[in-house]
């Protein structure tokens, strides 16, 4: 029997918040910043209904460290912010990575650098995919292109975080966060692996020895051993968790690569280009770290030219070049809130043919 899924009109921000609740998120802490304010407002109401914890923290620093505590206590914990606030959270994210504590962090990107503006942007790609804070680490980064996928990736994010014991970043942009769309709320995550019990959690040392949550390894050689262990974990994630979506890539001669809201604009451009007998296809990374280089290499095998479209000055561009050495890669990006339009993308592709 096929179950008809009920759809609700929601913003991407609300969809992510509700998905977190469905995923069993017990703790949320955040600080106001545009364009993600719908998340704390939604959580303030829903977490109370669910008899879970919502805290409006005094700063982003405090919020991420509250999440550190909630996670160390063994609970699913979430914080959300936007670009300048995410910069403030980097210290805490580094500590989470070092202490191997799971958490989900939502970044609804806005313009930068500095206070920038509140318009949509994709300029935190470097920060998100290269660790972001201090030290040798990575965080899995998932980038949704619509509200429903944002909900699915939140659920996946909590599972990845628990399975690998790592902070996971959901990298949305203001368009994806703010846009209202019909959403069929997923009931469970697509993640199939069995998530182990949190025997490491701080629960009080009853009937067992002491548990410690820490990222500090002072003794000579100890940090090297710890970091090598983390490296093995990143390698495992790199091998197992590459995700992407492709559209009309089988016979494509020209491949447009874009993520998040920009991929939706590029998607429309593909159909128009196809109508004009130009064999274009779309490659959309869903995991930005690990970058889906295997998928990209496959999709780009018989392609003549690569076109990267971003709402930045060219950040993902570097990962495309790393994945496809020797391929001709063209870049079109807009920054500071500028949005590449369908017609601009078509013009950009046709100019280079």
């Amino acid at each position: 029997m096929k179950i008809k899924k009920e759809k609700t009109l929601m913003s991407g921000n609300e969809a992510m918040a509700e998905a977190a609740i469905k995923a069993g998120c017990y703790f949320y802490a955040g600080y106001p910043i545009t364009p993600q304010n719908e998340i704390p407002a939604y959580m303030a109401r829903r977490m109370k209904e669910e008899k879970r914890v919502f805290i409006q923290a005094e700063s982003e620093l405090s919020a991420i460290n509250m999440v550190f505590g909630a996670s160390a206590a063994g609970f699913r914990a979430l914080t959300s912010s936007s670009s300048p606030g995410i910069s403030l959270k980097q210290e805490g994210i580094s500590y989470l990575a070092g202490a191997e504590l799971p958490a989900v962090i939502i970044n609804v990107m806005r313009g930068g650098p500095g206070l920038g503006n509140i318009a949509s942007s994709q300029s935190d790609y470097f920060q998100s995919t290269r660790g972001g804070g201090h030290g040798d680490y990575f965080t899995p980064v998932l980038a949704p292109w619509c509200a429903e996928e944002a909900a699915r990736l939140i659920m996946l994010g909590f599972d990845l975080a628990d399975y690998y014991r790592t902070p996971v970043l959901i990298l949305a942009d203001a368009i994806t966060g703010q846009m209202m769309e019909p959403v069929a709320m997923p009931l469970k995550s697509e993640f199939k692996n069995q998530i182990p019990e949190k025997s490491w959690a701080l629960t009080g040392a009853k009937g067992r020895g002491q548990n410690i949550a820490k990222s500090f390894f002072l003794k000579e050689g100890a940090l090297e051993v710890h970091n090598e262990k983390l490296k093995n974990k990143w390698e495992k994630i790199r091998n197992n968790e590459q995700r992407f979506f492709s559209y009309k890539t089988d016979d494509a001669k020209y491949l447009i690569i874009a993520y998040g809201s920009q991929a939706r604009i590029a998607w429309e451009a593909i159909d128009i280009l196809r109508e004009q007998k130009i064999k274009a296809g779309l490659f959309r990374p869903i995991s930005l770290w690990p970058y889906p280089e295997q998928g990209l290499q496959k999709c780009a095998k018989n392609v003549k030219k690569i076109f990267v479209v971003e709402q930045s000055l060219g950040q993902m561009l570097e990962d495309v070049k790393l994945a496809l050495p020797g391929k001709e890669v063209k870049f079109f990006g807009k920054t500071g809130g500028g949005i590449p339009s369908v017609s601009e993308i078509i013009k950009f592709v046709k100019r280079a043919l």
Partner: protein, 245 residues
């Protein structure tokens, strides 16, 4: 003959890394004694700070969480809200609690979080080599106030943070003790017991500040460091209960 003065089970039988004459050893013991006396070892979750006591988990035998510098009370908030049945406390120094973590401390206290905060005031940054702390006394020589802390030079005045916190509605109990003599140690222990008991009774935020010696940074013999607490520090930081609601 029976042994009366025993090591509390929550304190591991190991030597600490602290300098001779340091107050942390006494304070770790007091925390362990109070936790054991109240039967909280299996419920306790401590937050170790950044500073000399960063490896407090090596000395206490219960669950301990690390916190980034200054963020101990934010971490404690996260734990306590998820696990209200546990006994959650922070153990923090003056730089951690009053300088870099002032916002976290102030707002945690103001929310009236049901937590216990042990605040070790040694009027300097010990671990990093003896720089000026927000609690450094006027005239006190440190690595970054080589002429002595001067308010005229805009180096500020020592912050009496326990008094400031006591003004907040969310704070149930605030007291300042010292480890400079057996009498003051016993008194400090009673403040700690009150601060932990308050948490069990869901009374909100309790803070116990303790004046503690740092002979290495102060460049004093251990006994002279204890005297300096009694003769100099207490003039700026008077001992006693500041607030008990």
């Amino acid at each position: 003959m029976t042994k009366k003065f025993l090591r509390p089970p929550s304190l591991r039988p190991v030597a600490t890394h602290y300098c001779s004459g340091c107050g942390h050893g006494i304070l770790h013991r007091l925390v362990a004694e109070v936790i054991d006396e109240l039967g909280l070892r299996e419920k306790a979750i401590g937050i170790a700070p950044v500073g000399c006591a960063v490896v407090a988990y090596d000395y206490w035998d219960f669950d301990v969480c690390e916190a980034a510098h200054g963020r101990a009370l934010a971490v404690a908030t996260g734990i306590k809200r998820c696990r209200p049945e546990n006994c959650v406390f922070t153990y923090q120094g003056d730089g951690d609690l009053v300088s870099i973590g002032m916002a976290e401390t102030f707002h945690t206290a103001n929310r009236g979080e049901n937590l216990t905060c042990i605040f070790v005031n040694n009027a300097c940054y010990g671990m990093t080599g003896g720089q000026m702390a927000p609690t450094t006394l006027i005239g006190q020589i440190t690595a970054t106030t080589p002429q002595g802390r001067s308010s005229e030079a805009k180096e500020g005045w020592p912050i009496k943070f326990s008094e400031i916190l006591a003004g907040l509605e969310g704070v149930n109990f605030a007291a300042r003790g010292a480890v400079s003599s057996p009498k003051e140690i016993i008194r400090t222990r009673s403040y700690m017991k009150k601060a932990f008991s308050n948490q069990l009774e869901n009374k909100g935020f309790s803070i116990v500040e303790v004046l503690s010696p740092c002979p290495t940074v102060w460049q004093k013999k251990p006994i002279d460091a204890m005297r300096w607490i009694d003769e100099e520090m207490v003039k700026t930081f008077p001992l006693g209960i500041i607030k008990d609601r």
